[in-house]
Amino acid sequence: MTHTRDPVGEHRRELLRQMLRIRRFEEKCAELYSAAEIRGFLHLYIGEEAVAVGALQALTEEDNVVSTYREHGHALARGVPASSIMAEMYGRATGCSRGRGGSMHLFDVGRRFYGGNAIVAGGLPIALGLALADRLRGDRRVTACFFGDGAAAEGEFHECLNLAALWRLPVLFSCENNLYAMGTALAVEHKETDLAVRAATYEIPSWPVDGMDVVAVEEAARHAAEAVREGGGPHFLELRTYRFRAHSMYDPDRYRDKAEIEAWKRHDPIDGLARRENVTRDELELIEKEVAAEISEAIEFAEAAPLEPVADLTRFVHSERTGAG
């Protein structure tokens, strides 16, 4: 060990490592998508890594996570193995959803990761239900529910904020405001663009956070999650962030100004943290090497993985019952 014992520094280096994992994993995904190894829709999280990594620091293994179709980052940060995510995107039997979900539907119930939901705002009611069940049983869990700014235009968003507040459900609403609902800017589809203000009208404690600063996100999330866990009812974080790449691999990204993208890139959460923490080139290289090895293994795993037999096509439409009946 060349550096001195520094718990804060070590934790922040871990945050950096997590963000780099996501960044490199997704860059590889884009490459594999171009090579037609990954198909379907592929929504990349690059630029938003601080949100997933920071927010999920606030959760324990017992807590629940509900996510969206842009969920590679949440899954990786939650601990879903890169290999099973990659295998899922390869459509393999060992994928985390046995090849039936793909990029938009990563599930890992063992880690209480209740999936990527590809209907905008479709995960909010589920999060309420997960939280309601915990409440009824008296379990002190938090359900973190990620969704984008686009969800604020859906009726379900308002139904759920009202109901969660009304029933004081233990939900941490984590709104990833990246300023665009696909290609439509927030200001184009909302009169009031301050989403934290809107959530507050449901009497939910809400505040905006710099989503490009992983430390700020973690701090806000810890604060909110503790309040939720202590029975304070739902809390709402508006995590202001930006995706550096297009909405999906299909998106020519004509609706954004290049200058705007470049300006946001100057706030790259990974560079920012490395600078602030004075992470050395050597340290970074070491992390990069580890991450690269993990990703290579994930790809090898996915490439070698078996396909689900077609004979099992209709499995999991209904539960498989054991025993008589």
Binding site: R100, Y114, P125, G129, L132, L163, F316, H318, S319
Partner: protein, 330 residues
Amino acid sequence: MNAVLKTTYREAVRAALREALLRDERVFLMGEDVGRYGGCFAVSLGLLEEFGPERIRDTPLSESAFVGAGIGAAMNGMRPIVEIMTVNFSLLALDQILNNAATLLHMSGGQVPVPLVVRMTTGAGRQLAAQHSHSLEGWYAHIPGLRILAPATLEDARGMLWTALQDPDPVLIFEHGSLYNVAGELPADTGAVGIDRAAVRRAGGDVSLITYGGTLAKALDAAGELSGDGIEAEVIDLRSLRPLDDATVIDSVRRTHRAVVVDEGWRSGSLSAEITTRIVEQAFYDLDAPIERVCTAEVPIPYARHLEEAAIPQVADIVDAVHRVVGAGG
């Protein structure tokens, strides 16, 4: 000897709810006006007082939110019963029912079962016009991953709910609005019933009348009338609309060689079309006449009594259809 209770369909459903709430503490009831109001159709009257607001939960008019919350609670170990006032309102929650409840298990590779029960009323006959009267259970029966039940008798109203709650996957129960006041007798010890098989409600050898839910009574009335004409109709109550019990239907048609399907849904692209097709697929060489369907006219259900009556299947329509099928040409 069993004691016999005089009861109604409404009371039978309520008794089933009570029993479920008593037997399994994971069970709770949630929906619009299920608590203080006692249920839009007074089904849950008195349950709030008995079980308290945590287990009898009045919800805002947010179908998507509370049906989705039912899904989430079911995923997280509970056994929620969600009540939606009518099938027409369920369309506001269709996203949750189709995109989540029916889909999560498969989409997650088997990781996320959704043991949810959703109850709702369906059907016409009460002059409630075009936004409260439709029979859309056939739509839901289209969706893999759901189980669709249509209790048509007191026994099924009493017994299907508990069985549905034991199912690891989502079950939708459609209660025809005209049935709640139907009175009859049930053995005091009536309990859970199977939900896998259709039931032959009346035996007969001349024609198979295949129906479910609100039109069962009409089919039985028609069968009684036909008997006077020397035609013995076998009346099959499907009970489960998904999965369909093909075996009972096909067995009957193989004996009668003729079939009339009675369905309060619209004809085009319907459950009646599905049943007809299955008969043709599986019993073509046993058919001695074209299959007839008695369905609702292809209109939104109108308000005026005479128009509503004209729109939905009636006993006379069923009798006429049977005569066409059983009688000679011309």
